[in-house]
Symmetry: C2
Subunit: 102 residues, 2 copies
DNA sequence: TCCATAATTCTATATTAATGGAAGTATGGA
DNA sequence: TCCATACTTCCATTAATATAGAATTATGGA
């Protein structure tokens, strides 16, 4: 993954509301969520949510597809994996994080 | 790691110059680098670099310690690992990234 | 065709971040 | 104590982000 793509993705997640939206999408899984359902769940004005969804899309972290009157958003988990890989390889002395050790 | 800490760390890395600085620190390893050496390596005005180093420190990504007239900066790789863990656990359906598969 | 719903885009405003010169602070020598 | 070096903080300026009401676009019925 290119550095600039990683930066966009990091910036997209580095925002309170957007991180909430993305986490909600991840929890919703591959069936996705309509924009309205996200707005309801997080109690956000539609224009504000729309702005953040666009940021997530532009950063390659979310995909959307129309279904009737709704737009269904889904997370792109591959993008997160790309970030993880980049950080592991460039920002962590190549030391991978152990799976579930703490 | 708390959500707000993760957000600060992501925001700190989501900036071109800062990501360069951090990667340089990681490559330098535990012996660290003086601020002046970083400024030279990346050709940055000292005030600009100082601003970015402070951001990295505030985000918990870098530590610094005086040595004579110089301030030696070191990366805090544990912080990166915390980010990786958070993203893996909250933003990726719990699916860890495989070590060096692509 | 007309209306309600679902969402986006437009627009203005407010907040926050980045840049870098100039001034200030610590350190170590002569 | 005076000076040079190594940084940081102060400050002003510019640029980028976030917020949300109002207007607009697309879809699916009645």
């Amino acid at each position: 993954m290119e550095k600039q793509n990683v930066i966009s993705a990091l910036a997209a997640l580095a925002q309170d509301t957007r991180l909430d939206v993305f986490r909600l999408l991840v929890r919703a899984g591959p069936e996705g969520l309509a924009a309205g359902a996200i707005a309801d769940a997080l109690d956000l004005p539609s224009a504000t949510l729309s702005f953040h969804l666009k940021e997530l899309r532009n950063a390659g972290l979310a995909l959307c597809e129309r279904s009737g009157r709704s737009l269904i958003y889904r997370p792109d988990c591959a993008a997160v994996e790309d970030i993880l890989r980049y950080l592991t390889e460039h920002c962590c002395e190549g030391v991978a994080v152990k799976k579930t050790r703490r």
